[in-house]
Amino acid sequence: EDKVVQSPLSLVVHEGDTVTLNCSYEVTNFRSLLWYKQEKKAPTFLFMLTSSGIEKKSGRLSSILDKKELFSILNITATQTGDSAVYLCAVPTGANNLFFGTGTRLTVIP
């Protein structure tokens, strides 16, 4: 059975802190891993990772995949209140539909 486990479930930090969100997975026929940010209702796409050890970066956000140990991390440096959201990790299964973890709720306090 496919599994995606995210940790921590929730996190509260102060502005300017750096955070690391974790995602471990077990899936048959791995193709990629995706990170989404969900603020209100619509998850917005952040990164797609397919290869181990290659960091994807966008501004203060970065992510990396370890296909040997079956996990990915999402880093956010110099956090801002606008980073407050639920961060979802997902892997494509079957016919490329997404299997999601439960998410990490990040709260950034001014």
Binding site: S32, A42, L98
Partner: protein, 118 residues
């Protein structure tokens, strides 16, 4: 480029009533997905369409849920009759759905419909 459009944004109904949600995907996206997201959980796939054909509906409760994408563009999801446990956000997503680059399967989500069943 316009995003995925969904309506309504909110719906409140009583149990045993019926409800329908509408989704218009990003132009040119062949694959359309409906997900159910219960509070505190990640989205879970209900049904996946490729053009106007169903690819995966294995997790759709077919005794009460139905969905169609007749012309291969917009789609409707219906619940009839609704139960209390159907209270959730219903998300629609679309992707290019090509057979080539992995990036063609990145899914883009609409704002969702929040359903409350009383």
């Amino acid at each position: 480029e316009a995003g995925v459009a969904q309506s309504p944004r909110y719906k409140i109904i009583e149990k045993r009533q019926s409800v329908a949600f509408w989704c218009n995907p990003i132009s040119g996206h062949a694959t359309l997905y409906w997900y159910q997201q219960i509070l505190g959980q990640g989205p879970k796939l209900l049904i996946q369409f490729q053009n106007n054909g169903v690819v995966d509906d294995s997790q759709l409760p077919k005794d009460r849920f139905s969905a169609e994408r007749l012309k291969g563009v917009d789609s409707t999801l219906k619940i009839q009759p609704a139960k209390l446990e159907d209270s959730a956000v219903y998300l629609c997503a679309s992707s290019r759905g090509g057979q080539g680059l992995v990036q063609e399967n990145i899914q883009y989500f609409g704002a969702g419909t929040r359903l409350s069943v009383l």
